[in-house]
Symmetry: C3
Subunit: 305 residues, 3 copies
C-alpha cells in the first residue's frame, strides 16, 4: 500500500490488502524484529468517541514498533469543548505527530480531516461510515482460519448501523466469497451498501433467519444489536433474542466454522461458545496488533522521523 491516508475499505485493492496481511503475518511470527523500527515517531490518538480495543491496539502497535503515542484525551478534557472545529484540531495536531488515528461520530469526518493535513490520517470509525483497519484485521482472521477464497460467510446482527459490517462487505468483494446477510427487516444492510455490492459483482443473499443458512457457512460474523436503536425495550429484547447464538445452536454448523465478532459483545454470543473451537473473536481482537503494526509501518514509510 502506497497511500497517504486510510479512509475507507473501498480504497484498498486485493493487492493492497494482501500486502498488509502478509506483512502482519511476518510481524506476528517475529515481533521482536520490529521493536525499534519506528523509534522517534509519534502517533496521535484522536478519539472523539469511546473506544477500548481500537485505541489500545493502535497505542500498543505504535509502541511495539518502538514509537510513542500522544493522546488527545476525551472530548470533555480537550479544546473541542471550547468550540474548535475538527479541521483546526487536526491542523494543530499534525505539528506534533507523524500520523493521526481519528475516531469521530460524523460520517465523512476522516475524509474531511485528511484534506487539511499533510501527515497520514487513519480512519478508526466515522459514525455509521467506515472502519477500515477493523476490516483488515477481520480479513487477516478469516485468512488465518479459512483462507480467503471459495468461502461462504454469514454476517449477522445490526447490518444497518454497523460500520464494521459496511467496511467488511466492501472489502470481501475483492475475493471469491459468498456473502450471506442475516438480520431483522428493520436492520437490513442500507440500500447504498447493497447497491455498491451489486455494482462490484458480489455474490450476496439476504436472510431474516440464521437457521437455513448456518450449515453452509465457513465463517459467521456476529455483531451487536444496540438497545438504543429501538424505541421500545420489549421490541429490542424480542429481536435481539432471535439473533443470538450458543453452543447448542452451533451443533448444526460445519465442524470448522469460524465464529467472529468485532466486540464488545453483550448477549449475542453465549459464554458457552467461548470454549468451542469455533470461537475466534478474542484471537480476532488480538490480530489487531500485528495488523495495525503493519498498517502503521506502511503509512509511516521511510518518512518516519
Amino acid at each position: 500500500m502506497r497511500q497517504d491516508h486510510l479512509i475507507t475499505a473501498t480504497q484498498l485493492s486485493r493487492a493492497d490488502i494482501e500486502t498488509v496481511l502478509d506483512q502482519a503475518a511476518e510481524i506476528a511470527a517475529d515481533p521482536q524484529a520490529w521493536a525499534e523500527s519506528h523509534f522517534g515517531s509519534v502517533l496521535a490518538l484522536c478519539f472523539f468517541e469511546p473506544s477500548t480495543r481500537t485505541k489500545m491496539s493502535f497505542d500498543t502497535a505504535m509502541k511495539r514498533l518502538g514509537g510513542t503515542t500522544t493522546d488527545m484525551g476525551t472530548v470533555e478534557s480537550s479544546s473541542v469543548k471550547k468550540g474548535e472545529s475538527l479541521a483546526d484540531t487536526v491542523r494543530v495536531i499534525e505539528g506534533y505527530a507523524d500520523a493521526i488515528v481519528l475516531r469521530h461520530p460524523s460520517e465523512g469526518s476522516a475524509q474531511m480531516a485528511s484534506e487539511f493535513v499533510d501527515v497520514p490520517v487513519i480512519n478508526a470509525g466515522d459514525g455509521a461510515g467506515q472502519h477500515p483497519s477493523q476490516t483488515l484485521l477481520d480479513l487477516y482472521t478469516i485468512r488465518e482460519n479459512a483462507g480467503l477464497d471459495d468461502l461462504s460467510i454469514g454476517i449477522m446482527g445490526d447490518l444497518k448501523y454497523g460500520r464494521t459490517v459496511h467496511s467488511l462487505a466492501d472489502a470481501l468483494t475483492n475475493f471469491d466469497i459468498r456473502q450471506h446477510f442475516i438480520s431483522p427487516e428493520s436492520l437490513r444492510l442500507p440500500r447504498n451498501v447493497r447497491y455498491d455490492l451489486h455494482e462490484a459483482g458480489a455474490q450476496v443473499r439476504e436472510h431474516t433467519e440464521l437457521d437455513g443458512v448456518l450449515p453452509e457457512l465457513d465463517v459467521l460474523y456476529v455483531t451487536r444489536i444496540q438497545r438504543e436503536r429501538f424505541p421500545d425495550e420489549s421490541e429490542y429484547r424480542k429481536i435481539a433474542g432471535e439473533y443470538q447464538i450458543d453452543a447448542d445452536l452451533l451443533s448444526e454448523a460445519k465442524e470448522n466454522l469460524t465464529v467472529m465478532h468485532p466486540l464488545p459483545r453483550v448477549d449475542e454470543i453465549a459464554p458457552d461458545v467461548d470454549k468451542t473451537t469455533h470461537a475466534k473473536y478474542f484471537e480476532q481482537a488480538h490480530n489487531g496488533l500485528p495488523v495495525r503494526m503493519a498498517l502503521l509501518d506502511s503509512l509511516l514509510g521511510g518518512d518516519d522521523k
Copy 2:
C-alpha cells in the same frame, strides 16, 4: 516471588515479601541500572475507579524499567460503557500487553480476571477487598524506618472499609509485630479479617481511642474516614474529629514514631505534622516507585522477551 499473579497479600510468604523489598532497596540505590531492563514490554493500566498515586506509580515504574504502558482510560471512555463483561475486557487486553494492573469496584474481581488470562494480573484494589502492592510499599516504608520485628504498630481510622488496612494486617502476621487497631465502634475491623488474624496467631488489640496506646507505638498508620460512610454529616464530623492527629498530640509519642498514611488525606493529619520528623507519608508514597519496579520485574520475569 515466583507467582503468576498478585491478587492478595495473604498469598505472600515472609520470604516472598523480603525478596521484593530487598530488590526494591537495590533499585532505589541505583535506579539507572534498571533503566532498560524491560525495553519492549507493555503494561496495561485498567482502572475502573479513580486513582492518582497507584496509577502514576505503576505507570512510571514500568517506564523507569524501560517499558511502556497502555491505558484503558476511564470507564466512560471505554467499551465497558457498552456493557462488556470484565472477563471479555481482560481477555482482549491480554493480546496487547505483557501484564495487567487492575483496579475495580467489585471485591474478587482481580481473582476472577486472573482466571481468564495468561498474562500476570496485579490487583490494584478490588472494592473493599485487597490492595497488595500498597501493602508491599507500606512494609518497605516500615522496614526502612523501624525494621520489621519486635514492633508495635497502630492502625487508625476506617478499618471496616479500608482495603489497604486489610491487606496490611494480613501481611504483618508474617512478622513479630503487635497490631493495635484504633477506630470508632462502627468502623471496626470486619469479623472475617479479625478471624483471619486470630487464626494466623497475630498479636492484636482493639481500641476506640488513640490516647492510651500512642506512647508505646513505633508506627502509626492513619487512614481516611470517608464522609460517604455516614448517613449524617454531623455524625461524620464528630467521629472524624476524634481520629485526627496534629503535632501537639504527637508530643506524647515516642521520639522516633513513624507516621504513615496511604493518601490522599483530607483532615486526618494536620499540616503541622508534615514538618515533624515523624511524617513519612510522602516518603511512603514515593516508595511505590521502587517497590512496584521490583514487583513488575518479578512478575514479568525472564519472559519479557
Copy 3:
C-alpha cells in the same frame, strides 16, 4: 535560563528569552540531534483544566527528547476528587517524575506548588494569571516572522481574562515593541497589568476599534472573546462580532502583517484568512514543540541522569 521553575513571564530577562528561542531554533533545524537527549527522564502532566495543544505539545516535546510522560488524568479520575490538596498532590507526584507541568484554575497555584517540591514546576496556565511557555512560543513566532525589534503589535479581543495576553504583554517590554491593545471597554487590560507595563516603560496604547491602527501593525495577535463572560447572549454576539477579522478586512493591513492566535478559535478569524500569507496561527501552535523541547531541556538540565 538557569532557574528552578517557570512560573511567570516576568521572571524572564531578555537574555533568558533569547537563550530559549535560540535553542528552539537549533532544535527545529535538526530535531533528530535531540532524539535521545533525555532518555530515562519522566515529565508529569498535571492538568486540572481541559487542554489540547498545551498538553499534547508538552507530551510530544518530552517524547521527542527521548523521555516519557506520566499523566495525572482528569480531575474526575484522580484523587483530587477525594479532597486532596494541591500541595499534597504535587508532593506525591515529585516522587515519580523529574519535572511537573501544571495547569490549574486558581491564580497563583503554580507558584504555591513550586514552593512544596524540589523538581522543576512549569506553569501551563493558572486561572487568569500566567502561561509563560505560551509566551515563549509566541515570541518565537514573532521573531521568526517579524523580528523582535522596532515593531508594532496589536493585541485584540479579551484582554481582561486572557492569561496569554498578560504573559505576552509582560515579556514584550524586554524588546523595542509598540503595544496596541484593542478591546471593548468591558474587556480592557486589567489595571494591574497596565500598571506593570507602565512601570516597565512600555510603549502602550489602547483602542476600542481595530480600524484606525491596523495599517501600522506588523503583528496582530487575536484572542477569543468567551461567551461565558457576558450575562446576555445578544450582548456577546454584538461585541464579539466587532472584534472578528476576515480576508477582506486584512486588505487594509501591511503586506507582511503576521496574524497570530493562541487557539482554539471560534469565530474571531474567518476561515478565508487561513489561505492568506498573513495566517501564522497554525505555525504558531506547531512552534510549541521546539520551544517546549528547549524549555524542558533547560529545566531538566544536566541533572536528568
